[in-house]
Symmetry: C2
Subunit: 266 residues, 2 copies
């Protein structure tokens, strides 16, 4: 993902400098202007950011929590020790939220990939060869209403609706697990398009901070939707990332699924 | 279940006559005033109902859909052929709804087990040795709100909430499958009560016809809730059946789970 975001940012005319964490980031970082840092080099991180005159930061990709016993802290890290210690506890979301606040307190703007690289997001309208039919549009409307009604509870990032029936609602289990459940429920494998029904609807939850938690779909989402006997996938246009765009479109074409970006204020 | 309902009805002073479908109902039917009928004996069914001066009917237990090629239809059945043929299609709920309408059109009242045998329902308040704590009551409140918000979509008969986080919402998969998912999500087995958190909240959906689809909990519900690391179960008082009451209370005591009947207009 980081190189996909960097390429899209460069295409839209931005200057980029990639900072990879050694042992975590991919070698592809080196295809761009870049620096490597190690865990614990917080002072060095800010030196690089200042030297490169960075004002906006995008945090992309996932890392494993480092073994703090193995980390060597530089002076900048020691100065920020209370903050670093605060990251040892809490769920992923609170850790990421604290990191965003940390950079903002130092005067940097944390941007989401959706702001810097909008071309990676699902566009508005039908973006595949297949299109939703009327019954699918009704299922999508129902799904969007379910998502909206669950907003206050911080769940419902994805739902599956088939012919007016809500088959599954995502809470803590993740979209992939929810789709696998639908496949089991329906006890049918990937069927011909004529026999399929239902749509996966995926949107950010209301109040979700897209800078640290941008919903994403990829080739595997399409594979699992096909296994669940669905006809397509609808996402909120401009708010859901397409990971491995080429692979995603290939899977959608192979399984004859539609992908629709919906303009909807949910 | 039929004999449990019959016993409870007799205890509350009602006259009962059980009509068992041969090959479907349990022999325990014979412990009460009873008749046996075969699939297809619709005329005979109404003869019995009229002879016994039945006015109220309770439909309890599950049946397999008969192989119509093997059924011998009596004259009463032939007279009602359009109705019988209508049962060949549709989901369980629409079949049961049609059966209710059929009896009502003939002048009978179809009652739910909850009306005839209220002692089988979960009473109001804490009905186990363990009690919910404040954090559990907050989870229950959240769960009831989720159920309420999902009412328009005919889902959400059960949800799991732990320390304010909604872990799972039941849609088409059933309560047992939802609890098993929670156990996997949390990747912990049955823990000591001190380490547990969360509550299963189970209620009828708004608009659910309790005469044909009464939510139920039983010993297995308790076992699965314990495996999911939950502290207890909350149900809407007077609206959720306890199947195998003795086994249910034994399981709750063994796993130190609470069971609470909530008076709440969801």
């Amino acid at each position: 993902m980081p190189s996909e975001v960097a390429e899209a940012a460069i295409e839209s005319g931005l200057d980029v400098h990639l900072i990879g964490i050694a042992g975590e980031a991919d070698k592809r970082v080196e295809r761009f202007p870049h620096s490597w840092i190690k865990w614990g080099e917080v002072g060095r991180l800010f030196d690089i950011l200042n030297k490169q005159r960075c004002k906006d930061i995008v945090i992309v990709g996932s890392v494993k929590r480092p073994d703090l016993a193995q980390v060597r802290f530089d002076l900048g890290a020691v100065k920020n020790l209370p903050f670093l210690l605060s990251l040892r506890t809490g769920g992923d979301n609170s850790v990421l939220g604290n990191i965003v606040k940390f950079f903002e307190n130092k005067g940097f703007q944390v941007r989401g990939a959706h702001e810097i690289a909008p071309s990676l997001l699902t566009a508005s309208g039908v973006v595949t060869k297949q299109s939703p039919e009327r019954v699918d549009l009704e299922d999508i409307e129902t799904g969007l209403e379910v998502v909206k009604s669950l907003g206050p509870f911080d769940i419902g990032q994805a739902v599956v609706v088939a012919r007016g029936h809500v088959l599954a609602v995502e809470a803590a289990e993740g979209t992939d697990a929810m789709l696998q459940r639908c496949a089991e429920l329906r006890q049918w494998g990937a069927k011909s398009r004529a026999e399929r029904s239902g749509v996966l609807i995926k949107c950010p939850k209301s109040g979700q901070d897209l800078r640290i938690d941008l919903p994403a779909i990829g080739p595997r989402t399409i594979e699992l939707a096909a296994e669940a006997g669905l006809k397509g996938v609808a996402v909120r246009a401009g708010h859901v990332l397409m990971a491995d765009r080429a692979g995603l479109f290939e899977a959608a074409a192979r399984h004859q699924l539609f992908l629709l970006g919906v303009d909807h204020d949910s």
